[in-house]
Symmetry: C2
Subunit: 823 residues, 2 copies
């Protein structure tokens, strides 16, 4: 190794006196002592949470019986997070800041919970965990203990909007909180493990979407403590120069605070944080005074400290502090090895609990005075309990956007392009309270009308070409980056802090954020159990570019399985809607935007469609969520021969066409047409609040008639939802079966047997009583199908009658007129 | 705007003469002409694919009837990709390189397909698409046309291992191909849209895991064409300085090639690519000669050209080239607007098809000579058809690692730690052919024994602490980065190029890569339909840290739903195994490692478990995939009263304990114990090749007896798999129902009713004939459950008898001895 190389390595080791970009010693000797006492008190609490169930203040010698039987929790990242949090408190007080803390590193709860406890917030919301020895004991015992709280910043943690159970979303969540929150600074700890994830690695680019006039600021602190569970981290093992350049390249101004020695580190952190706050305020003032938004090189901090900072350097001959062994429970033999117990006791006593918590078992008023008070405490900022701040959207009347449906099944219009006008006016009415997110697909998804009310946020450079339909603006309301993770993270942060929004995405690629949406479902589900949490606006996900119109993009673009993922989440929080036409889409979306604490998933095609329901009918249908469509049925309220059911707009179209085909062959057939908008209507009412009772089910589906169910997604999902239903064996479901190629829509449907011909043949197959007539009709249908498929194959497009089709066709119309079903 | 700012903007606009980091003019005037002719021929083919179904060489004036009815395809990124590809050909020839091309930008197929056609590979594998006018017509028509090939580099594309249907994986895939492939250079185009995704943004760090001695090199070309579908790209709108620093920060040496003017761009690209190749070879030589691996600043190229380069700058008054309007079909009115048709014709003729393809409709030998020949052609490199190169693993005999099970249900051992020894020896036996990937969880997953055979690859800096159990080495065989995306991408690239491997991950966070695994499933499924593709080794995913042992980490760590995602994929390619014990785990993994073209998902807990089967029994059980366990059954081959079924190791344990509890109350009960290893045994044989016939099903489950099925994952999945089965209404499934907290294992199980007591009570509830005896037993079980739960709540751990439990307990043993079931 060369000397240069050795020097480069020394430069990235987290030891010795503080090395920092920002110089200065803003703290007096007394202040340093106070901050260090506060630091020690916090570290003591962190260890107490991990280890102690009794003897919380070590007023007795530490014994095995005081230690939790199973010790759980993570110490490694706590010191650095606490250090950052408490030094920021000084600036909150000094500059009267509105601030929030986002804890990114995994299992970082001891840091944030200890701060909430010392600030008094914890005892306010959980009076049993009071600031006295008895309360501290309960506070310690509950941590990572059955029936207690987890080792993440879970919903039970005051001040938290970000659990960190799954890693990688701290930066995008933080940005979500500050959009349209001009006074807010979200101080965000980023773990260096987390920083290796893809979602985090791209979220640094969020500054290209932040306007210093109307938005607040995110102050990231990359916590380079060097190790993950059992490995070094990438960013801690590259040269100082590379690391600095990486953040310059991401558009940030990195300020380094590196070292271990306490006193100099206090000074360095205090000076650096203050410099960052001043810089943020300077940029904001400049932009706000001039009215000219710009993208400054926003400040961020790289805090390099030993992992498990302040822990013993070695225990039992192995590195602890400054190595990955301090990641989780730092000393593991305390209940079996007396020497380990002793080491722990000495370590804990080194934090001076007796002096710092005194007789009353609480920190002195002088130390407490280091914290802000009331809602200025980061643990009490109402932004972290966004429901408190949320105001309902100013909604235009969705009925005003109705598609005119004079005759059911005869109007063709684009449901999505029509919905775009409603969405545009929501954006117009709520200029600081609603954002639309999308991974560069909003225009492709036929929602471009929204740009009339709010362009796309863009803080990158502008070119002259942008005037030619670029729709970019620093004050935009639509946010587009080709990262579903970033869009979703922004939206989560935005709604958790009390605002509203929607993500629009192609259906196939929404799986990219399966796990993020899962985690959000878990978060809002758990919030329902936390008394002081107020419900937040729903997370709305609109999926389009649906599987049945991805024939031409092929197999990679065909996956409707996000619904399966959603169906596994708690019924308290998930809702799935598949509006069959444009008026239903309006009605459903209106409902979603008014709802709270749900994840609403809406699936709707963006291509032109036959429209079926008037606005009044649509409202009634969507309110019920499922229903018989009498205008497409011929059972006239009697026992039907057959039920043709559908769910999803393209699927409904084919199902209706199949009814039409069947009636051309069998004019007397009593067909009942059932349509499903609200997918959870199918499930038993004991399993989801929207579920039908069996009685209601039978009234729609009967117990013994064949049901041909054309479903938007994978067919098995319907079976999973209906397995308990009476007559479930009669349900014959068609849907996407992972059979795709480069196709026309008809070919794709035939491949998966969801086309009108297949459905009609399915129906005949399930009515053996039709006998020879059935066989003849089946042959005719098969021929029609083959002819249509051949046409498609030859011309590369489907025959006109498939897309121009309206209901009912002439042959059937007369018969329905006789039944008084159509006029 | 200041002048400086204006200058900064000009610097990042893709116009004018070439600006490049590397200077030099390596091409003669004649060479430039030749390369430009080749470029034009390629561009002509790209447009032809998008537009033409007839008149392929424009030998007649272009008419509407020559144009495809529906034009599909993307032109925007083709010119830059072609430009890169063909200039690299010069270096393949000059330096006799072994090279592969990965096309990252979405819908980039015209670029790669045109090259495969000009190199002759396309006609070799698809003789109908010959190099003559008739073949060209077929070649054009098939593109993005029903029954033809898609607009991505789909499996039908020779030379492709990366489809690019979903974006973000080009760099990780590329690295996967070069690990243990020291001679290979994978030239990788990265789209600037794609570069915004999280997976791509973190994959740049892959250099910290690449050893220049044993691995090849990736040469990324970031293609800054400035726009996505309808938006500018982030990286194209930051300053030149920031962009440069970003890549320095990522550890690369960026070389810029920017501009539009053709002649200077040819020179710049030729010089720059050559410089990069020389640098790569220099670093490799240095490391290989010295035997000392190091991490150089690997070269990469930033190619900034106008989007739709060489297209008309404006059409109908709107920007085309150099703007997002050239993204997809560049001129859209050709079939309706004669002026558009004319514009297209002029544009296409500008590429001089008559001169370049001549009378025979093929490029001249002189132009063809610009391409390498045989397997040196990137479109013919066997690495892209990895099955050709794959050699089976040298497998140790898994039986040698058997856990000794003298008495079924009485041995306790960690199945995972035991499997680790087998895995270690696979790594030992296959030092260049197998890699283990994991997101920093390998040690936590109890697989640390593998480090004895291969440490963790690490090309970052080393600290002295690493000696204390760091297990790092530049020559490691285990690859850990905290990015599931990167691990999965590396592994996909590694196996698609013909090698073997496994990803180990916590179960809850595998959802992070749902979409990637979906896409891999689609890739290998489609490969089955491509005649010349040879099967590749399977993608093996081992999931541990399973839901039932995530009680203490809480709700965010509980999600067993990856199986639902997998179940939706094509039955041709997906396999799911849940081995109930350690010997089954060995047998299953042995099978997976020997298999081809599957995605094998194996779920197994890492904690100590009761062991049930001897190796012989395990082999038999796993071979069948499902079976009756006679040693835990009391039906003695007769009609049972009850079937206790289970799938998953923890679930099996509880199910057996429930049998034991039931027998203590009802010694005469005829219980049949059925265990499922291979999940797809449950599905009907017409739906999956592993599925049981109904006859086989009935032999196991009967048609009319109650079945209490304890399932590892969400219970509904079993219903989805079994809805067609006779007697499906008798299946009562328990599984995870999204009910979690900070719990003990028992509490978590009780919450979801998967614990032994709940299962036993479920069984009683379904046997009304037990009458009062049932009610009494039920009460007793309830009391036991409450007592155990209380203990757990109080102590924070479960009572010993739950984990130390062995089968059968004393009370039952005697009765079984009478039945000769146990000795």
């Amino acid at each position: 190794m060369t000397d240069t190389h050795q020097a480069e390595i020394e430069e990235i080791r987290p030891f010795g006196k503080a090395r920092s970009t920002v110089k200065g010693e803003p703290l007096s000797k007394e202040e340093i002592e106070k901050y260090n006492d506060f630091f020690k008190a916090s570290l003591y609490l962190s260890l107490g949470m991990i280890y102690l169930k009794e003897n919380p203040l070590l007023r007795e010698p530490l014994k095995v019986e005081h230690i939790k039987g199973r010790q759980l929790g993570h110490f490694g990242s706590a010191p650095g997070q606490i250090f950052t949090y408490m030094h920021f408190n000084r600036l909150i007080k000094k500059y009267d800041l509105d601030a929030l803390f986002v804890s990114g590193p995994g299992h970082g709860a001891p840091a944030v919970i200890s701060q909430a406890y010392l600030e008094g917030t914890y005892s306010e919301v959980y009076p049993q965990k009071s600031e006295d020895p008895a309360g501290m004991q309960v506070f310690f015992k509950q941590f990572s203990f059955p029936g207690g709280v987890g080792s993440h910043a879970t919903p039970e943690t005051p001040g938290s909007i970000h659990e960190g159970g799954e890693l990688g979303y701290s930066i995008s969540h933080a940005f979500g909180t500050v959009f349209d929150n001009p006074s807010l600074i979200t101080l965000t700890m980023v773990g260096d493990g987390e920083a290796e994830t893809g979602p985090l690695a791209t979220a640094w680019h969020s500054t290209k979407f932040l306007n210093p006039i109307c938005d607040g600021a995110v102050l990231p602190v990359l916590h380079l403590n060097g190790y993950k569970i059992n490995n070094p981290t990438v960013l801690a093992r590259i040269s100082h120069k590379e690391l600095e350049q990486l953040f310059y390249g991401y558009g940030w101004q990195p300020y380094f605070v590196e070292g271990e020695e306490i006193e100099s580190m206090h000074q360095a952190m205090a000076a650096t944080l203050e410099h960052c706050v001043q810089e943020i305020r300077k940029y904001q003032k400049e932009a706000r005074d001039s009215g000219k938004p710009f993208r400054p090189r926003w400040p961020m901090i790289v805090l390099r400290t030993p992992k498990g900072w302040t822990a013993p350097r070695k225990v039992n001959g192995h590195y602890l502090s400054g190595f990955w062994r301090s990641h989780q429970v730092p000393i593991t033999g305390t209940t079996t090895n007396p020497a380990d117990l002793k080491t722990l006791e000495e370590w804990m006593r080194g934090y001076e609990p007796e002096r710092l918590f005194g007789k009353e078992g609480r920190i002195s008023d002088e130390l407490k005075a280091l914290c802000p008070t009331g809602n200025k405490r980061m643990s009490a900022n109402p932004v972290a309990n966004g429901g408190l701040l949320a105001v309902p959207l100013k909604m235009p009347d969705f009925r005003d956007y109705a598609i005119n449906v004079d005759k059911s099944g005869a109007t063709v219009e684009g449901s999505m392009a029509n919905f775009a006008k409603f969405l545009r006016d929501i954006i117009k009415n709520n200029p600081n309270n609603f954002r639309l997110m999308g991974p560069d697909e909003t225009e492709s998804n036929k929602l471009a009308a929204v740009y009339e009310a709010g362009k796309k946020v863009w803080m990158g450079e502008y070119f002259e070409e942008d005037e030619d339909g670029g729709n970019l603006s620093p004050f935009g309301r639509v946010m587009e980056i080709l990262s579903e993770h970033t869009c979703e993270g922004w939206l989560e942060g935005y709604i958790l802090s009390g605002r509203h929004g929607m993500l629009n995405s192609y259906e196939p690629f929404i799986h990219v954020i399966d796990s993020m949406v899962n985690q959000h479902c878990k978060w809002i589900e758990k919030c329902l159990e936390v008394e002081w949490r107020v419900k937040v606006p729903s997370l709305n996900i609109l999926l389009t570019a649906v599987v049945w119109r991805q024939d031409h993009n092929g197999f990679t673009h065909q996956d409707p399985g996000f619904l399966d993922v959603i169906c596994n989440k708690s019924p308290e929080v998930v809702r799935i809607y598949l509006p069959p036409d444009g008026n239903c889409l309006l009605s459903v979306m209106d409902h979603c935007f008014r709802s709270q604490n749900y994840v609403n998933v809406v699936v709707a095609d963006k291509q032109p469609h036959i429209q079926y329901l008037t606005m009044e009918q649509a409202i009634e249908h969507c309110t019920k969520g499922i229903g018989i469509w009498p205008q497409f049925s011929t059972d006239a309220g009697e026992e039907p021969d057959l039920i043709m059911a559908s769910c999803g707009d393209v699927s409904t179209n084919e199902s209706l066409a199949a009814i039409d085909l069947l009636l051309q062959h069998f004019p007397d057939l009593k067909i009942r047409c059932v349509n499903v908008v609200d997918l959870f209507k199918l499930i038993h009412h004991t399993d989801h609040p929207h579920g039908l009772t069996d009685k209601e089910w039978i009234a729609l589906f009967t117990e013994n008639k064949p049901i041909i169910f054309n479903f938007h997604s994978y067919p098995w999902l319907v079976h999973r939802l209906t397995y308990k239903r009476p007559g479930s064996a009669n349900i014959h479901v068609r849907g996407y079966k992972e059979k795709g190629n480069i196709d026309t829509p008809l070919e794709l449907a035939i491949r998966n047997q969801t086309d009108r011909f297949s459905l009609a043949m399915d129906a005949i197959d399930r009515m053996p009583s039709l006998g020879n007539r059935g066989a003849t009709a089946r042959d005719a249908l098969k021929s029609q199908q083959v002819a249509a498929a051949n046409y498609s194959f030859e011309h590369g497009v489907d025959p006109k009658f498939l897309s121009d089709w309206s209901w009912p066709q002439e042959g059937v119309k007369e018969k329905l007129q006789k039944l008084n079903i159509v006029s």
